[in-house]
């Protein structure tokens, strides 16, 4: 850098003073440089060294000036003209400076000889100037070249030989004119060597950059990225390795002064260092907190006050009555119990005198337990029923009011081999008919238990159902055996009744033939073979599948049969007077399930069909479904309708007996579950007693009181009355059928043990 600046300086000075430079400038076509440089020069002028330089150079320049003016007058003129127009003042100004400079800087002192002595200001040898390096140097030092104006040489070299002034003059000029300007020619003359000062490429470049006011140095970045030395990032190395200054270790004098002030205050008692808490003295510990006593409000519903501990009982006394003291076993029991399970946490003790009472060991513990209870035990509000438990018992009519009902087994009808499937008492109340697995139908005298009539219907098929025609005249017994239904007039009545019965049955023979051929009837009415006819069988009806149950209409003209195996035509209605059979439900889908039992309503034209789960009530007059009952049983075994027709009992194989009130709902009104096994049969008494019963496979018959009130608002009263035990259970079957005596509160039951029984 230093070298460059010096060269710059040199060029500058040359440009300032000499017109020759201007010519050269002309050549370089850098007119602006002058003004710039001159201003520069002005800036520098106060500096000593600069002025010195100028003096020196100006002396040299003057010489050159002369030469120049001599040599190129025409050019000079033109340039001066130009200068005058453009930079006139600068040149003049600079000239003026040049002249005044040596005078200003030189002090004139009266010397020793009395003459004026010029004291020049001290020369600061600029060590870093390039001049020292120059090999061929003029040794004249700082003496202005103008001093050598009159000499042919310009100075001396280091060997003391004259350095001759380079050739100048017209000859040279012409020579020079003829010669092309060398590269880097400036037209300046090196003052040291007196040779032309040429600029190198780099120097020219620098000059150009300066002209463009660019930064001369290559690769200099004027806007480098900021490096934050004092930032939040912790540096590994210290920024400064300077040791901690001492002042940091010296206690502050100012602070000490302030502390001393406080200390003095404390000593004098002006400042109290630990002021006692004011509140302690101010407020009294207790005051009347309930001064404005709020009126007692009722507790919030969610607030459950802690229960108080119960007061002590007699056995906690130090001297309890002797009966409260535990005996050995009680004592042992108490001690063996886990402390948590003990009903009381102490064992009653007796002390003869108060002085003998020891301290109670568990006192603190009990208090602690109480504390724990107070804040840890969840609190619940429990409603305590302070009532007599007897008031919970339902008011039942006394057993005397419920009498009569069957209680004991009066007669056992023995004779059947195998199970007795069905039992039926005749409407007169004298006979009872039974049908059994041995294929016989037997009629017994009720009171004596004597078998009066027997009919062997089949040898291989069981008689599943027997029923009497429910009218007072014309005793007809219907029995189902296999797929045949026999209508029998047993020869046990007087002849009048017998013939009357036969007449009723045989009246329809003509109708049956009339209708023949149209369509396959569901039942075929035919006369039995002579053997059976002799025995009293009048008509047999043959249906397609095994008949399980027969039910009569109350007038005795119709009877309905169920044969569950016949999927499509399970229910058949037969008319006795016309000997016709029909199936009311053509499709299985109508009944939606396999019918189990069928029953006529006792007074209305309704037909009750019980499938496995539901009971459907069909209106026969309108031929539509009127109601469906949902007893909720899995498999209904039997149903019976109350003689008044508004209530229905349902027995099911899943041990339940269900009472339906048809006016109430389709759900059962009561569900009774007192049997251990499935219920086989249920029956209402039809003779005016409010009784009903159920028989089950657990071998018992249960008798209930079931009273219906005429007041519609009052529900039926059901009271269990009696469990009749007597039948034996044979291969898981108990009592298979039950029937009531038509007039008396007597009950007939048919058991799997081969007997039928009368209960009264």
């Amino acid at each position: 850098m230093t070298a460059k600046t010096s060269t710059r300086k040199r060029s500058r000075t040359a440009a300032e003073e000499e017109k020759a430079v201007l010519s050269s400038e002309d050549e370089f076509e850098i007119p602006e440089i002058n003004g710039d440089e001159s201003s520069d020069e002005e800036d520098f002028s106060p500096g000593d060294e600069d002025s010195e330089d100028e003096e020196e150079e100006s002396s040299g320049d003057e010489i050159e000036d002369e030469i120049d003016s001599d040599e190129i007058p025409s050019e000079d003129e033109s340039i001066s003209k130009r200068n005058g127009t453009s930079n006139g003042d600068t040149t003049t100004g600079s000239d003026g400076e040049d002249t005044s400079d040596p005078i200003d800087n030189v002090k004139v002192v009266v010397g020793a000889d009395g003459g004026p002595r010029y004291i020049y200001p001290e020369i600061d040898p600029v060590y870093d100037s390039d001049d020292t390096d120059v090999e061929e140097t003029n040794t004249i030092g700082n003496i202005p070249l103008e001093y050598y104006e009159n000499y042919p040489h310009v100075g001396y070299d280091i060997n003391g030989k004259r350095i001759m002034r380079p050739a100048a003059g017209k000859a040279l000029d012409t020579l020079l004119d003829s010669i092309e300007l060398p590269k880097g020619w400036t037209g300046l003359i090196d003052k040291n060597s007196g040779a032309a000062l040429n600029l190198t490429e780099e120097e020219l470049e620098i000059v150009k950059k300066l002209q463009r006011s660019e930064i001369t140095e290559d690769g200099y970045d004027p806007y480098p990225d900021l490096v934050e030395y004092f930032s939040n990032t912790v540096e590994q190395m210290p920024l400064s390795s300077a040791p901690e200054p001492k002042r940091r270790f010296i206690p502050s004098k100012h602070e000490q002064k302030r502390v001393m002030k406080i200390v003095k205050g404390i000593r004098e008692g002006r400042i109290l260092p630990y002021k006692p808490q004011a509140e302690k003295t101010d407020e009294p510990e207790f005051y009347d907190i309930w001064a404005d006593d709020a009126p007692q409000k009722p507790d919030h519903i969610m607030n459950i006050p802690a229960p108080k501990l119960p007061p002590p009982t007699h056995d906690e006394s130090y001297n309890p009555p002797a009966e409260y003291l535990p005996n050995e076993t009680e004592k042992k029991d108490w001690e063996d119990q886990d402390p948590e399970d003990r009903e009381k946490n102490y064992l009653p003790r007796s002390h003869k005198a108060l002085r003998l009472v020891p301290g109670y060991n568990g006192f603190v513990n009990e208090r602690f337990e109480r504390c724990l209870d107070l804040y840890l035990a969840p609190r619940v509000r429990r409603n305590k029923l302070n009532i007599d438990p007897a008031s919970l018992l339902p008011k039942l009519p006394s057993p005397d009011d419920l009498k009569p009902f069957p209680t004991t087994c009066a007669t056992v009808y023995r004779g059947h081999e195998g199970r007795v499937r069905s039992v039926a008492a005749d409407p007169s109340g004298v006979w009872v008919a039974t049908g059994g697995d041995d294929g016989t139908v037997r009629v017994w005298e009720i009171l004596t238990g004597r078998q009066v009539w027997k009919l062997k219907v089949s040898s291989d098929e069981a008689v599943d159902s027997v029923t009497w025609r429910p009218t007072s005249e014309g005793r007809i017994l219907a029995a189902a055996c296999g797929n045949e239904i026999l209508l029998v007039v047993p020869p046990i009545f007087d002849s009048e009744e017998e013939t009357h019965g036969k007449e009723i049955l045989s009246a329809g023979f003509g109708y049956a033939t009339n209708k023949e051929g149209k369509k396959e009837a569901p039942g075929t009415w035919s006369k039995p073979d002579s053997e059976l006819e002799e025995e009293g069988v009048v008509v047999t009806i043959t249906v397609r599948k095994t008949v399980k149950y027969i039910a009569w209409h109350r007038r005795g003209d119709y009877l309905v049969t169920v044969s569950p195996e016949d999927v499509r035509k399970a229910v058949c209605i037969h008319r006795v007077s016309t000997h016709l059979s029909q199936t009311p439900f053509k499709e299985k889908s109508v009944t939606k399930g396999i019918p189990q039992r069928v029953q006529f309503h006792p007074s209305k034209p309704l037909l009750f069909v019980a499938t496995k789960r539901y009971i459907r009530i069909y209106d026969l007059a309108k031929a539509e479904l009127s109601k469906t009952l949902k007893p909720g049983a899995r498999w209904i075994s039997s149903i019976d309708i109350h003689p008044q027709g508004d209530n229905l009992i349902v027995g099911s194989y899943d041990k339940r007996l269900l009472w339906h009130d048809l006016d109430l709902s389709t759900k059962p009104y009561r569900t009774l579950r007192y049997h251990d096994r499935g219920i086989r049969a249920v029956a209402f008494h039809r003779g005016g007693f409010p009784l009903f019963c159920s028989s089950s496979d657990d071998g018992t018959v249960q008798v209930f009181h079931g009273k219906i009130y005429s007041d519609l608002m009052e529900n039926a009263l059901i009271v269990p009355l009696k469990v009749l035990k007597g039948h034996k259970i044979v291969s898981h079957l108990g009592v298979l059928d039950v029937d009531w005596h038509p007039k008396q509160p007597w009950l007939f039951s048919a058991g799997a043990d081969g007997t039928a029984r009368l209960w009264n």
């Binding site: 808490q277 002590p312 130090y318 003790r349 108060l354 009990e366």
Partner: protein
């Protein structure tokens, strides 16, 4: 269809919060939460449906009522807890540095102190509410007053408790509020009536209490903090309403000498305003006045010399002239001229009637306590029932009315030691005279002093519970005491009543046939027997009445007499059981002989009759059972279960009763045997 309800936004799910959730919500530690709950009286709940409350989980958790917790959020005590947390950090820091002076300063000046006043007011908006909850507070405070101080329990706490306990006792004495007391094996129960509320508390016997290691005293002390504050405020209110200065004067020197209750001096509000010196003068003056007023002789003089706790009465005596009668005015209905009836309203009367009489039950007595008797409870009890002159042995501490056990003014002496060996056993009758006869000069040798009645401590308790002065016979020194019964148990129908005689019913006798064969023949038949027993009962009841009223009729009869009485009672039963059989035996023998003579096999008619009756009874029982079964059959399941539960409870009670009765019968029989 209604709008589908979202789960977990209402009802149980919303109303209840688990403990963990609560702690998290309040942002405090569990111990702090515990303390807060104790102070605020917040307790866990049992939701109806746990599963719903716990978001479907059935794990066992504690539930709190959400609103309870919500309302804890703004609790000032909560802020104190936080302050305490920072304080404890500072303290531990100071201690860690070893800067003990700093730690001390922190402890003294910057420890956050929790004030519970607002909580008291909040929890008990009315004074009656506070009284209602006083049971546990008193029991705890009395317990702590009797505990030794240790690392967990600072001595200051115990001191406070003792002070509060004594203050409370003073109030009870002054107001004559004590109603009942009971000596149990755990301690002594007292029941006082404060503003119409019954307050029951238990005080341990004066023994070094066993302090178990598994008790968390931090919890106990938290409760105690609350209870002492509560009792403090309650006492202030009670004292001020009574017109007394609340912290009553406490005489440290007296207390150090073991004066107990006597270490406190009650001051009236009006007098309390006076200066100390003047007040003393006043006290002296009042003494003079009372001296003039009451001319009861030497006794009174002694009382006053001892500086008795007469101040309250004395004050009232002096102020009686100035003050307006604070009691109720008597309203007398003016009869109307036209003769229409007017309603007469009842007025409570403190002085007259049973209450007043009962409250001053012992006022006529001068009682001396022997040194083996427990002084504190006796003093408290006697003074609460009007006894003003209580003396005791110097061993029992300061403040006695007289230390001289030979003082002739003493009417009763309470002793709890066996009678002196060497002295002839005294018949309990007229023991005063007897002692006069026997040990005329032995008073110096700690024998019996004439002219006073010696009773065991239980006498006082039984008198208090009975509400009248009982005959002291059965409580004489060395006598076997009658059983001490709890005054709170009122035998209801079908419960065992130890005071009522038991009927020796036939069945139980039959049960013990093996033991007493003779008794078997007693019952002719079941029905007759029942009737008989009923009659017996009636007789016994009559007998009982006599027995109960005996103290008026029989005078000066001792313990033996009462036993005789008992014997008599039993004797009533005996004829039916023992005398008849002997006749029966003879008869039976006669019949046997007759039968033999006739050549017939003798059949014990009686026996057959009896067996018939038995059968009949059994049948009846069976029928009843069947009927019950029938009824049960008709009940709904829910009702049946309820019924069975109730039956179970009743049966348990019945069994307990029967057990006790049979035991008592056995004991009585044995007693009788022993006598025979």
């Amino acid at each position: 269809m209604g709008k589908i309800k979202k789960k977990g936004v209402a009802g149980n799910a919303r109303n209840f919060i688990t403990r963990t959730q609560a702690v998290r919500k309040l942002q405090i530690s569990l111990p702090d939460f515990r303390r807060l709950c104790i102070f605020k009286g917040i307790y866990p709940r049992e939701p109806r449906n746990k599963k719903k409350a716990n978001k479907g989980s059935t794990a066992p958790v504690t539930f709190y009522y959400t609103k309870d917790i919500q309302y804890l959020l703004h609790e000032p005590v909560l802020q104190k807890f936080r302050d305490h947390k920072t304080f404890s950090k500072k303290l531990s820091k100071a201690l860690g540095r070893g800067d003990f002076s700093d730690a001390k300063r922190l402890e003294e000046l910057h420890k956050p102190r929790i004030k519970l006043d607002h909580i008291i007011k909040e929890r008990y908006p009315s004074f009656t509410d506070a009284i209602r909850d006083l049971d546990d507070a008193l029991s705890t405070i009395f317990l702590f007053a009797n505990l030794p101080s240790n690392r967990d329990i600072p001595a200051k706490t115990i001191e406070t408790c003792a002070r509060l306990a004594n203050e409370f006792q003073h109030w009870v004495i002054r107001k004559r509020a004590l109603r009942k007391s009971f000596l149990s094996i755990k301690g002594i129960y007292y029941q006082a009536e404060i503003q119409g509320q019954d307050v029951l508390w238990l005080v341990p016997y004066k023994f070094a209490q066993n302090v178990p290691s598994d008790v968390d005293f931090r919890i106990m002390l938290t409760f105690l903090d609350f209870y002492t504050t509560l009792l403090g405020f309650v006492m202030f209110r009670l004292y001020t309403v009574e017109g007394l200065v609340y912290p009553p004067k406490f005489d440290k020197t007296m207390d150090d000498k073991g004066a107990g209750l006597r270490a406190f001096l009650l001051e009236s509000k009006r007098v309390g305003a006076l200066e100390d010196g003047k007040e003393k003068e006043m006290v002296v003056k009042t003494k003079d006045v009372s001296k003039q007023l009451e001319t009861l002789g030497e006794k009174i003089k002694e009382i006053e010399e001892k500086g008795e706790e007469e101040t309250p009465t004395a004050i009232s005596a002096t102020e009686g002239e100035e003050t307006v009668n604070e009691g109720l005015d008597k309203f007398t209905a003016i009869p109307s001229k036209d003769g229409t009836a007017t309603d007469i309203l009842q007025q409570p009367n403190a002085d007259a009637g049973e209450g007043g009489k009962m409250a001053n039950m012992f006022s006529e007595f001068t009682i001396y306590l022997s040194r083996e008797t427990p002084r504190e409870p006796l003093e408290f009890l006697l003074r609460s029932f009007g006894c003003k002159r209580i003396g005791w042995d110097a061993v029992l501490g300061e403040g006695s009315f007289t230390a001289d056990d030979t003082d002739p003014s003493i009417t009763h002496q309470i002793v709890d030691r066996p009678p002196m060996i060497g002295l002839p056993p005294m018949p309990a009758k007229k023991d005063g005279e007897d002692t006069e006869m026997g040990n005329n000069g032995t008073s110096g040798q700690r024998g019996k002093v004439m002219g006073r009645i010696y009773v065991q401590p239980q006498y006082i308790w039984d008198c208090v519970n009975a509400g009248r002065i009982l005959r002291p016979d059965s409580y004489a020194q060395g006598a076997e005491l009658p059983p001490h019964l709890s005054p709170w148990v009122k035998a209801k129908d079908g419960e065992y009543d130890p005071t009522a005689p038991v009927a020796d019913d036939g069945e139980s006798e039959e049960e013990e046939e093996a033991e007493e064969v003779k008794l078997v023949e007693n019952g002719k038949n079941g029905v007759a027997n029942e009737k008989e027993s009923e009659e017996e009962e009636e007789e016994e009841e009559e007998e009982d009445e006599e027995w109960g009223g005996m103290d008026t009729e029989l005078a000066g009869e001792g313990e033996e007499d009462s036993e005789e009485e008992e014997e008599e009672v039993e004797a009533v039963e005996i004829p039916s059981s023992e005398d008849e059989p002997s006749d029966d035996e003879e008869l039976q023998h006669q019949r046997e002989l007759e039968a033999e003579a006739k050549g017939l096999a003798y059949t014990d008619e009686k026996k057959s009759k009896k067996s018939e009756a038995k059968k009949k009874l059994e049948k009846e029982k069976q029928q009843k059972q069947a009927e019950l079964e029938r009824q049960k059959m008709m009940m709904t399941k829910k009702k049946r279960k309820l019924y069975e539960r109730m039956e179970y409870g009743n049966k348990k009670k019945q069994d307990e009763k029967e057990r006790l009765e049979s035991k008592r019968r056995k004991i009585e029989r044995e007693k009788k045997k022993g006598k025979n």
